[in-house]
């Protein structure tokens, strides 16, 4: 088997030549990168990533440039990727000639002068904005590694070690900080494809897409597939709302993914690869495409990589807003220019993939760990994690927490400590649930917190799954059913339409949730939801099969909340418009006319001083209570409890 595989993959006998080629590239890159880390004059890097842009990084960057120009300041300007504290964006890093880098944030345009002051030697000018020292030493500012948000991260980051320390658009920074060395060594040491795969199997490197299937084993399937036309495919269609860990890798260290894919291609005799990126990540698309062009120009992608006989063509395919293309066979269909409908398996992609040829699909992070494992060895990789799940992975945290952002965490990290790192639950509310794994994921009850850890086994007892990195903390301020309705509608909208169980079942589920939210729950609803659950599991792909889980979790773990809402028809959170009444409690409040003016549906009636709200017109958006909190109150609508069924099936 191995010999037959080797037929198409003979290495250049002149490994010294390959090594020489790479040494030259690395030497040049190292010079560039050292100058970046210890610049001749201070440099201000504004984080440019999807998060920073959403927080105004362009305006900040322009303001800094303006002031630096006006003062003719002896500094340079650059960019990096935000370190992880998204609630403190826009983040800005100042690096001095001695190599010390300090992260500041949030740096708004008004703060630009302070940052320029700080960079040009007025030490302490921006100290109120200082978050932590990224590298080097500083007498007054603690290391970023001591920041409470990163308390659960390993001492040193691994997968995202370069974040903040490089400009992701400069390939030399990647190579100068150790990048491409793993792949170059594979080539010049004459490593064989099966040896590469074995290293990953020894490291127990599990896929990061959610399933956790060992990557090396999966690659064995492709390596053993007939023919010499094999394809290596990266699933970067990260569509789970609330998960953005692949985005961080692609925007923050794009060459890491490319190197991982090149190694995967070598290990499976693949000559061509695709990275399928969701349309909602335009910056990731831009950076990946640019990184591929740079790698090609340097001879690290394309024909005869580094002068070896190994060739690998890599390209980006941009999706167009279809969640189900994140299902690996839907993704393969989409690459081929078809509707992104998941296929019926078997045959599996290792036999019939892109263009009906043997293919392998892995997640962004699965590939990105590969150079690190080859570089540092599988024992190093096993230093973190649990017995069942080895290593670290990226997680993104959002919801009812003050500190939104991403962390690289060992599998098995304790959820309670992570919630603390995220600043606890916002506004002193109580935690209600942990929403993990996106719409095909789970709703875990808050009572799980004391023992819940970041590994699949910890979620399983709750009929739940950890998923692919997105964790949303849900408080008791909002009714949980809002998420159930969102999820079932999402799955219905994003269904490919093949299975009636999937698109019809989720449509029915959405209708039931909407009726319940509208104060019209029925006793038969729970049984009907159970029926939908059973039916959905007969769908062809995971999109339909996994979709009832959050609803099932609602009935399993939040039964009292469900019954209070559906049967007693009471919403204790007063956040469901169909069950909440807005009433003018103080018609003489000074802000009441502001409320009248803001109402989008003219629901206020009566004259000035005697205003009241027309319940039929009110849509319950809450704008009036925001502008006139002293004038208007929310009250439960008086609804009758659901009656007992007259007969079975009513």
């Amino acid at each position: 088997m191995v010999n037959r595989l080797m037929g198409g993959m003979k290495l250049s006998s002149d490994t010294a030549q390959i090594q020489g080629n790479f040494s030259q590239i690395r030497e040049d890159a190292t010079t560039v990168y050292e100058r970046w880390r210890k610049p001749q004059r201070p440099r201000i890097d504004v984080a440019i990533d999807t998060s920073s842009l959403a927080n105004g990084a362009l305006a900040t960057s322009n303001a800094i440039e303006q002031i630096a120009n006006d003062r003719n300041a002896a500094i340079d300007l650059g960019q990096n990727h935000g370190y992880g504290m998204q609630w403190l964006q826009p983040l800005v890093t100042v690096t001095w000639p001695n190599g010390t880098s300090v992260i500041y944030g949030p740096v708004n345009p008004d703060d630009a002068a302070l940052i320029v002051d700080e960079a040009t030697g007025r030490s302490g000018a921006a100290s109120a904005l200082a978050i932590g020292v990224l590298s080097g030493e500083h007498t007054e500012i603690p290391s970023i590694r001591e920041h409470p948000f990163f308390a659960q991260e390993p001492e040193q980051r691994r997968l995202i070690a370069r974040i903040g320390l490089t400009d992701p658009e400069v390939m030399e920074h990647y190579i100068g900080s150790g990048g491409w060395a793993a792949f170059a060594r594979v080539l010049y040491r004459g490593m064989q494809p099966d040896g590469v795969r074995q290293e990953l199997i020894d490291g127990a490197h599990g896929g990061r897409g959610g399933g956790g299937f060992p990557a090396g084993v999966k690659w064995n399937f492709l390596a053993g597939a007939p023919g010499d036309e094999h394809y290596m495919v990266c699933n970067a269609d990260e569509g789970d709302p609330g998960a953005w860990v692949n985005r961080v890798v692609m925007e923050g260290d794009p060459h890491l993914l490319i190197e991982g894919m090149a190694i995967a291609a070598f290990a499976t005799s693949s000559k061509r690869g695709f990275i399928y990126i969701r349309e909602e990540y335009p910056l990731a698309v831009e950076r990946m495409e640019q990184a591929i062009r740079h790698a090609e120009a340097a001879g690290l992608l394309g024909d005869n990589i580094l002068g070896s006989e190994f060739s690998f063509q890599l390209e980006v395919v941009k999706g167009a807003g279809s969640y189900v293309c994140g299902e690996e066979t839907g993704l393969l269909s989409s690459i081929q220019g078809q509707r992104g409908q998941p296929r019926i398996r078997p045959p599996f992609p290792a036999a019939v993939g892109v263009f009906m040829k043997p293919s392998n699909v892995n997640n962004v992070e699965t590939f990105s760990h590969v150079p690190l494992i080859l570089q540092n060895g599988h024992e190093w990789y096993r230093e973190y994690g649990t017995e069942a799940m080895v290593g670290t992975r990226l997680f993104s945290f959002s919801g009812d927490i003050p500190n939104t952002g991403f962390m690289e965490l060992p599998f098995g990290a304790p959820m309670q400590e992570i919630l603390s790192a995220c600043g606890g639950v916002s506004d002193g509310a109580e935690l209600k649930a942990i929403h993990s794994g996106g719409p095909l994921g789970s709703l875990v009850p808050a009572s799980a917190m004391p023992t819940l850890t970041l590994e699949n086994n910890s979620f399983t007892p709750y009929d739940a799954m950890m998923g692919s990195g997105g964790i949303v903390f849900v408080s008791d301020r909002t009714h949980l059913v809002i998420l159930n309705e969102f999820i079932s509608e999402f799955v219905e909208e994003e269904s490919c339409g093949r299975c009636t169980t999937c698109h019809g079942g989720n449509q029915r589920m959405t209708e039931i949730f909407r009726r319940i939210m509208n104060g019209d729950g029925r006793r038969a609803d729970a049984a009907n939801l159970k029926l939908i659950d059973d039916m959905l599991q007969q769908s062809n792909c995971v999109h339909g099969q996994f979709s009832p889980k959050p609803m099932r979790n609602l009935l399993q773990h939040f039964r009292e909340d469900y019954e209070e809402l559906a049967l007693q028809r009471r919403d204790p959170t007063l956040t469901l418009p169909g069950m909440t009444k807005f009433r003018v409690a103080n018609p003489r409040d000074s802000k009441i006319e502001d409320a009248v003016a803001i109402c989008p549906v003219n629901a206020f009636q009566g004259s000035v001083g005697a205003r009241s709200i027309n319940d039929d017109a009110c849509i319950g958006c809450g704008a009036c209570t925001e502008v006139a909190p002293g004038a208007i109150v929310r009250e439960p609508k008086q609804l009758e409890a659901a009656s007992m069924p007259v007969s079975a099936g009513s």
Binding site: T50, S51, L53, A54, N55, G56, A57, L58, A59, Q86, W87, G239, P241, G242, A243, W244, R247, E280, P282, V317, K318, G319, A320, G321, S322, I335, Q336, G337, R339, G340, Q341, V354, F355, S396, S398, G399, D400, T404, G405, H435, V472, V474, S475, R477, T478, I482, L483, F486, F490, C496, P577, I598, P600, I619, G620, C621, G622, A623, E626, V627
Partner: protein, 175 residues
């Protein structure tokens, strides 16, 4: 063979470098939409010819994906983020209020003059700005994130957009 018009020749030049049977349909459709704001019937035909596909196949694929438009876009699109973090911050109330200001019953509608459209948007992980909307001008390739909204603020912004004023809030981002 349909009549060769100037528009058709331009389309043909636009997609001339795409090859058949090579996984390039998505890229070709994206390029057309980037250039014209949507994918016309004529464009579907030209892409089909270039890639040696049936027009029905190209239409079938293009119509599957939410982000491929087969009609010209409105000059302003309000893209409401439907993600979980936004939902927990009165995202539904903000959606309903904005729809009411524009006189819409649901997402996906546009004003009678065709100027403004409001559509469903997907989470891209800038949840620190939740709840948020994106205000887009597709013809100018401009997109602004307007975040940390309240229902009242969302109503004000929507009224400004409806009344033709340019909004000064929010942050410029990549389109």
């Amino acid at each position: 063979m349909p009549l060769e018009t100037e528009a058709r020749a331009e389309l043909r030049a636009l997609v001339a470098d795409f090859a058949p049977n090579d996984g390039q349909l998505m890229a070709a459709l994206h390029r057309v939409q980037h250039r014209y704001g949507y994918i016309s019937r004529e464009a579907l035909e030209v892409v089909a010819e270039q890639l040696e596909m049936f027009p029905a196949h190209v239409y079938g694929a293009a119509s599957f994906y939410d982000e491929f438009r087969l009609e010209p876009p409105a000059s302003t699109t309000i893209r409401w983020c439907s993600g979980p973090a936004c939902r927990l911050e009165n995202g539904n109330g903000i959606r309903d209020a904005m729809l009411a200001v524009l006189g819409f019953d649901d997402l996906g509608e546009r004003t009678d003059d065709g100027r403004i459209e409001m559509v469903n948007g997907q989470c891209n992980g800038t949840c620190e700005q939740a709840p948020l909307v994106w205000v887009e001008r597709p013809f100018e390739h401009e997109r602004r994130v307007v975040g940390k909204l309240t229902a009242a603020e969302a109503i004000r912004i929507t009224r400004e957009i409806r009344d033709g004023e340019s909004i000064d809030g929010g942050h410029e981002t990549v389109f």
